[in-house]
Amino acid sequence: MIKLQNVSKIYRTKTIETVALNNINLEIAEGEFLSVMGPSGCGKSTMLNIMGLIDEPSEGSISIGPNTIKDYNGKPIAKFRNENLGFIFQSFHLINDLSVIDNVELPLLYRSGINGKERRAMAEEALTKVGLKNRMKHFPGQLSGGQKQRVAIARAIVGKPSIILADEPTGNLDSVMGNEIMDILLDLNQNDKTTIIMVTHDETMARKTNRLVRLFDGSQVS
């Protein structure tokens, strides 16, 4: 489904050149739940961003299905991200000036052919799934970390994407809340057949997934 071929990412600043990813070859199958582990700075986020088409590799190529990606800023890629990808971040990235429901609706705003009523219904459905329907009118500032992450999950799934990319989704949460989030993701993978790629530092979380990829200094070690 997603295929990385000889992907490298090199960050160059005036003084230093960092190889964030070094010749990665990886193929993710449909319906898979993949976890990515490795020490801090080894390139996990970089890899996830490249898979999510919000960052360009310095070398190598990404294919989604039969298509190899060329223009990362064009309209077709924006549309693809919108319809097929859902993102979850360690630091939630909610818009503080929008209510919970408006945050969840956000991806649908950039999709054509959906009216306000449908958007609202879909957002409510997503919030119900993460158990936060009663907090719809709240603002992010009024929520706990676990609740914020559940809102972010609702936002990631509202457009019914086939792939979810989660970068340390439980990294900022305690183990109880972390488990709740993990359960939601497992449920999405098992019942909705959503492909999930999750970066984590937690071995027990990783063990619950189908496959584990380990990175070290930008290279895949297992």
């Binding site: 919000i54 960052d55 064009g74 919108n82 993102f87 956000l106 991806p107 950039y110 306000g116």
Partner: protein, 394 residues
């Protein structure tokens, strides 16, 4: 999308309030400055109705105790002498109320079934030609008018439109002065296009030209139209001629063109000052706006990154930022328009309402344009943000 942007603005009303205030005050100040400038410029560009180039004046200050016959002889002689001078095209006499003199003689009443207030200009039979007046109906005075039963007068177009609209006026009679200074009735023999005699920046008032023969001792301001391209020594020659003919030295020759320039100076100066102040104001508002927008966008980099991640194109991002700022601007302008509309409604100043409407339109237009220009670059910059980079930042 528009509704979404509106929600965003509403949720951020506190943050947007300062921007709103800036727009509002900028609008109000611009409105005031524009109203002042526009009303002055509209008067300025309305026609004067007479010529100033090559027209010289000399006030002879004839005492009212002088003997009428002597004065008549002297004035006849002076006109003759002037007309024989090769540099002179024509000459005439008027009363003290003449262009840029600062003098006014006005009268008014409501004895005719309408109310009016008009300035009165005493003029002889040569004045229209000398001053270059435009007569749009009827004719100017001739010497035969001396024997007229009623005082012959010409009125200005403005007077005609205001008090005799749609009616024929030639040969009609009306009461000009209820003290009977001009007999019971005066008779209209013609209409003059314009006579903005107070100055280029003074709104034209209603005017009535009352016939006063050139031999009368009541009109002693000589108007002399010189031919094109007169030599510099013409003034000296003219001076000598008038002095020897009138046996007086207490007059001075002044050029109408210079008076025109002088009389406008006192309006040009504050107006240019105001224009430069409003120029600075516009630059200031622009810089302020640019700063605020730039700051806003840099504060919202992760929001931009997120939007891009969930599927916004670069165009979506620019559109959102430009629309946000335009909406706040429009709110500021609408509130400003509400206050500005009180000026014409309550008639706070003695200027025509149309000036306020133009001022509203132009200040709203200038501010919108300013905002668009200032929003363009920051919004483009926002669209260029690399989502992976900014989401990594915190």
């Amino acid at each position: 999308m528009i509704k979404h942007i509106f929600t965003l603005i509403w949720n951020k009303k506190k943050k947007n309030f300062l921007l709103f205030l800036e727009i509002f005050f900028a609008f109000m100040i611009m409105f005031a400055v524009f109203a002042f400038i526009i009303s002055n410029m509209r008067v300025y560009y309305s026609p004067l109705g007479f010529d100033t180039e090559n027209i010289w004046t000399a006030s002879l200050r004839i005492p009212s105790s002088s003997d009428s016959t002597e004065v008549a002889q002297m004035k006849t002689l002076l006109l003759q002498e002037l007309n024989t001078m090769p540099e002179v095209e024509s000459a005439s006499f008027s009363g003290l109320a003449f262009p840029f003199s600062g003098n006014t003689w006005s009268t008014g009443n409501n004895d005719n079934g309408f109310n009016f207030q008009t300035c009165i200009f005493f003029s002889d039979e040569h004045y229209a030609k000398t001053a270059g007046l435009d007569i749009i109906e009827g004719r100017w005075f001739t010497e035969e008018d001396k024997n007229s039963k009623y005082f012959p007068v010409l009125i200005t177009k403005k007077f005609r439109e205001q008090c005799f609209a749609g009616k024929p006026v030639l040969d009609s009679l009306f009461i000009l002065d209820d003290d009977g200074d001009f007999g019971e009735f005066v008779k209209i023999i013609g209409v003059v296009d314009h006579y903005k005699y107070h100055g280029e920046f003074a709104e034209e008032q209603l005017g009535t030209f009352v016939y006063t023969p050139s031999t009368s001792k009541d009109t002693y301001v000589a108007h002399i139209r010189m031919k094109n391209g007169v030599q510099p020594d013409a003034e000296e020659k003219l001076n000598k001629l008038i002095a020897s003919t009138t046996k007086r030295a207490d007059f001075s020759i002044r050029k109408l063109e210079q008076r025109r320039i002088q009389s406008s100076q006192s309006t040009w100066t504050p107006m240019i000052a105001l224009m430069s102040i409003s120029g600075f104001l516009i630059i200031n508002v622009a810089l302020g706006l640019f700063g605020v927008l730039w700051y806003n966008i840099s504060k919202r980099r992760s929001e931009i990154g997120l939007r891009r991640t969930v599927g916004a194109t670069r165009a979506n991002i620019s559109f959102q930022f430009i629309t946000e700022i335009i909406m706040v601007t429009l709110i500021g302008i609408f509130v400003g328009l509400f206050f500005a509309a009180q000026f014409p409604i309550m008639k706070l100043f003695d200027i025509e309402n149309i000036n306020y409407y133009y001022a509203m339109l132009s200040s709203a237009g200038v501010i919108l344009l300013l905002v668009l220009i200032c929003a363009f670059y920051p919004s483009r910059q926002a669209a260029m943000v690399n989502p992976a980079m900014v989401l990594h930042e915190d």
